[in-house]
């Protein structure tokens, strides 16, 4: 569970987030949408205490993030950040196991439980038999699934995901969201997902937080947030709204006029 109350973030004199409030219950999936530069990534980084807030409070499972150690935060909150590359030949298994850092001592080697968690997460992310592949030799989409597997391997019940579907093909985009949805529904996880695909979001999210220029433009159920007016105001584009005849979810179609 995450509670965010009136947080503001500044980079120098520039206001990046301005008194943002929301909360994510257990078993809930919140999607964060908004144009580039709206403050989405900054918001996500504030949630696990890696971006300092100028005011307001963030509570994770009832505890103030600012007062927790890095290790405490890491056992409660797992992050899927936007891609980065390493110049070292790290294998998929090593990468996924690195997510278990907060669960063990610095000197120690991984326990049975660590290894089990890593393999289970790799299976969930469709990464069977990838364990000894080298990260640098994977495709962008494969790497992104490994990054998700590392977050799942932590078994932290709060997931923060920054554009987890950006490099994925259609099948894996759906797989990624289904997986997150399943963790929420079956294991009571809370997830905050930044995404650009409004249809994916409408299909899988319980609530949507729409950000623009560091302010909350709209917040609520997909049908209440993804209105023609909101989308025009925030993204500057015209859309057509109807219902996906198969899933029944809201369908957003960009009118390229």
């Amino acid at each position: 569970m995450i509670e965010v109350r009136e947080i503001s973030v500044y980079y120098g004199a520039k206001s990046v987030l301005d008194r943002v409030s929301f909360h994510v219950a257990d078993a809930a999936l919140l999607a964060v949408v908004g144009p580039n530069g709206a403050g989405k990534t900054t918001l996500l980084r504030a949630l696990n205490g890696t971006v300092r807030t100028a005011s307001g409070a963030i509570k994770v499972n009832g505890e103030d993030v600012a007062a927790m150690t890095r290790r405490e935060v890491a056992t409660a909150v797992a992050v899927v950040a936007q891609e980065n590359e390493t110049r070292f030949p790290i294998t998929v298994l090593e990468f996924v196991l690195s997510g278990r850092f907060a669960n063990g001592g610095a000197f120690g080697w991984e326990s049975e439980a660590d290894i089990e968690a890593a393999y289970a997460a790799m299976r969930d992310c469709d990464l069977d038999r990838f364990e000894s592949r080298v990260m640098n030799e994977l495709s962008g989409g494969e790497r992104q699934r490994v990054v998700l597997a590392r977050a799942l391997a932590t078994q932290a019940k709060i997931l923060l995901l920054d554009e987890p579907t950006a490099n994925l093909d259609l099948a894996h985009q759906a797989m990624m969201f289904r997986l997150i949805r399943k963790r929420c529904d079956e294991d009571g996880y809370s997830a905050v997902v930044i995404a650009h695909d409004l249809n994916l979001v409408a299909q899988f999210a319980d609530e949507i937080l729409m950000l623009t220029n560091g302010n909350v433009a709209a917040h609520g159920r997909p049908r209440d947030v993804l209105t023609k007016t909101n989308i025009r105001d925030v993204f500057g584009v015209d859309v057509m709204l109807d219902e996906n005849p198969s899933s029944g979810a809201l369908r957003v179609t960009h009118i390229f006029n």
């Binding site: 890095r70 890491a74 797992a78 980065n84 390493t86 070292f88 294998t91 850092f101 610095a106």
Partner: protein, 306 residues
């Protein structure tokens, strides 16, 4: 690998301008072996281990396989510290490593600060910062050499290139203690360094207290490099070559890379020094010339590959 180190140490002890058999030794040979050759070989092993673990640690911390104490200017910082002790503090055997440690630490922090920018730290910026600090410190060292007389100057020039011929028993002890402490500290941080290697933000996200790991790694690297340089000058490229070879054979996990680099570094420098002692016997080459001869091409290869 430990067995290989034993073999290399033994063979190195037998080889030299005067070859020694362990079974029939004259009094003079005994003296050569125990008073001159053995301290030198053991010092070589400590210096090699020191530079290799420092390289392995700094590379992971800075996410850069090209980071190396010599190239980053850490060795030159230690050299300047040693030299200041040599020139200004009467010739105390303990003042030198302490000053070298301080010099190495300051140089490390200076390079780190220069390499950082708002956009993070890229490879080129780090290497360039290292070059700048190295050349700056070199010029200070050269200015200080004008204070030395001719005889001292020659031995000093040799030392600056990396030279094990001045080995003493005390020097061996100091280096040994430093390298044992340094290797234990770096190995204790190996799991955190594995995450640092992936990315500093990843490390923070997954529970690493980055500031603490950085301080311990810089501290341990400065300690071992300080002790090594005070005893033997700037032996270059060991910290580049050895961890690279270890990663090729066992992968990137620092829990293996750091301790194995210590052993392999010891083997490498003893091996290089045996060449330095015997190649043009009875004259000698500085060991640093041999390691640079091997290391510089590898550096270029890694830079192009990266």
């Amino acid at each position: 690998m430990v067995a290989l180190l034993g073999v290399v140490l033994t063979v190195a002890a037998m080889l030299g301008a005067e070859s020694v058999s362990f079974f029939e030794m004259t009094e003079q040979q005994r003296s050569i072996l125990f008073d001159i050759r053995l301290p030198r070989i053991l010092l070589g092993a400590c210096v090699g281990a020191s530079l290799a673990v420092a390289g392995a640690g700094l590379q992971s911390l800075l996410r850069n396989p090209l980071a190396e104490p010599y190239l980053l200017g850490v060795s030159n910082g230690a050299a300047l510290g040693t030299m200041l002790a040599f020139v200004f503090v009467a010739d105390s055997e303990f003042a030198r490593p302490v000053m070298a440690f301080a010099g190495a630490g300051l140089a490390t922090v200076a390079v780190y600060r220069m390499a950082q920018s708002r956009a993070g730290m890229n490879v080129e910026r780090l290497v360039l910062s290292g070059v700048i600090v190295t050349t700056f410190l070199s010029s200070v060292i050269v200015m200080l050499t004008t204070l030395l007389d001719a005889a001292k100057l020659r031995s000093f020039t040799f030392w600056l290139l990396g030279d094990l011929s001045q080995a003493t028993t005390n020097g061996v002890w100091i280096s040994l203690i430093a390298v044992v402490i340094g290797t234990i500290v770096l190995t204790s941080q190996a799991r955190a360094l594995n995450l640092m290697m992936i990315g500093e933000r990843d490390a923070v996200d997954f529970g690493v207290e980055v500031g603490r790991v950085r301080m311990l790694t810089f501290g341990a690297a400065s300690l071992v490099v300080g002790a090594a340089v005070a005893a033997s000058g700037s032996v270059g490229y060991v910290g580049l070559i050895v961890p690279h070879l270890i990663r090729l054979s066992v992968g990137s996990d620092n829990r293996l890379v750091v301790p194995l680099s210590a052993i392999a570094g010891a083997i490498f420098v003893v091996f290089a020094d045996t060449i330095a002692r015997t190649a043009i016997a009875p004259r000698e080459l500085p060991v640093g010339a041999i390691t640079a001869l091997i290391g510089a091409p590898l550096f270029i290869y890694l830079l192009r590959k990266g």
